[in-house]
Amino acid sequence: MLEVRALNCERNDRLLFRDLSFTLEAGQALQVKGGNGSGKTTLLRIICGLNDSYSGELFWHGAPLGERRDAFYAGLLYIGHRVAVNRVLTPLENLRWSSRLRNPADDGPINEALVHIGLAGHEDSPCHSLSAGQYQRVSLARLFLRGAGLWVLDEPFTTLDTHGVTLLENLVTRHTESGGAVLITTHHKLSLPGLRALTLGVAR
């Protein structure tokens, strides 16, 4: 599905990674590990096309990613460090927008997603009144809404409680079992069957 070949990246005159190669096939989950500043977020942003200060090649379903941008974006769900949830809007309004940006969903599936992610009863409260964990859950509700093949999740566990961690682990498992792929960065110990790991910054 996704192939990374001989990726090099420097930031602030410091080498983050050199000659990094890996593949991610449908049905696989890959955890990117590494200490603070080892380049986990940078790697994810490079793959998503948000950062182009690298050398190396990226392939999406066998073709250079640059030539298949549209198909790649149509099959990508990225939840970054900054989760793209507006604080003055309500969870429902936020999800309406992010879903219509992709494949339009009615309020029905959006409300269901909010129930599944544990935000029932908070649909109409402005997001600034939610707790940090609930705020993160609003962004994770998008995982229920899109038929994206590749999930790229940057530290999705940081503010979740134990129940939320289990919920997200189950979601990731279900996604890979149904043929999706997941690229995830976290310091958590994940209990996922068949999880592969990629550790950055060991060479230094």
């Binding site: 096309g49 948000l50 200060s53 549209d70 949830v85 309004e93 309406r96 927008w97 494949n103």
Partner: protein, 227 residues
């Protein structure tokens, strides 16, 4: 991606931005009040003589509009940058310049339109003869979107900077000067008994050019800023 999806994404982005503006009324009210205050200080500070005021009326209103739009621009894209919304816009399979255009329209509806609606009242206060009203409103209708979209490029270029201070004004003002010149000339020409259509046509040409090019430039600037 089919046409209907692009339309849905465009409308959803427009609606979202309008909704956010309605909920953060200060972002709309501050530039609007600033505009009214600046214009109403002129009769007090310069001269209450209507002969004097009618000569400077068009220029005063146009300058106040420029300053107010500079003020309203500051909040454009900032919260979207901070909460990660811009990243999602960049990662959408809908062309970025269309989404940028939707955001430009939303911004104009809440910042440009109110100012235009109140401008005849302020023109009356500045003793602008009634022949000038229509031309003033027409020139503002054509000119304010140009200023807004040019500002949008500057904001997109500077959105990643921590404190941008006057950079925004330094980039936007020189580009807006032609709009200011033709806007005031149109009104003065109408007052002198001539036809303002030539100047309005020039403003219209600028608007057509900005609509077709500025969203593309803003989209490119956003990609650079997010890198």
């Amino acid at each position: 991606m089919s046409g209907t999806n692009i339309g849905t994404a465009f409308l959803a982005t427009l609606k979202r931005d309008l909704l956010i503006s309605l909920k953060r009324r200060n972002d709309i009210l501050n530039p609007f009040m600033f505009f009214i205050i600046v214009v109403s200080l002129f009769p007090i500070g310069v001269s209450p003589e209507s002969a004097m005021l009618r000569q400077i009326a068009a220029g005063v209103i146009w300058i106040a509009v420029l300053l107010a739009s500079m003020l309203s621009m500051d909040s454009l894209y900032r919260s979207d940058y901070e909460d990660g919304t811009l990243e999602q816009l960049l990662l959408s399979s809908v062309p970025l310049y269309l989404l940028v255009f939707a955001k430009n329209i939303a911004h104009w509806l809440v910042s440009g339109l109110p100012v235009i609606l109140v401008s005849p009242l302020l023109a009356y206060m500045l003793a602008l003869p009634s022949e000038g009203y229509m031309t003033l409103v027409a020139s503002l209708l054509l000119g304010t979107p140009v200023v807004g979209m040019l500002g949008s490029i500057a904001v997109a270029l500077t959105v990643g900077l921590g404190s941008r201070g006057l950079i925004l004004a330094v980039i936007t003002v020189p580009m807006s000067v032609p709009v200011l010149i033709f806007g005031t000339l149109a009104v003065q020409n109408a007052l002198a008994g001539g036809s303002p259509l030539g100047y309005l046509a020039l403003l219209g040409a600028m608007l057509a050019l900005t609509i077709s090019l500025a969203p593309l430039a803003t989209a490119a600037a956003l990609r650079i800023s997010m890198n």
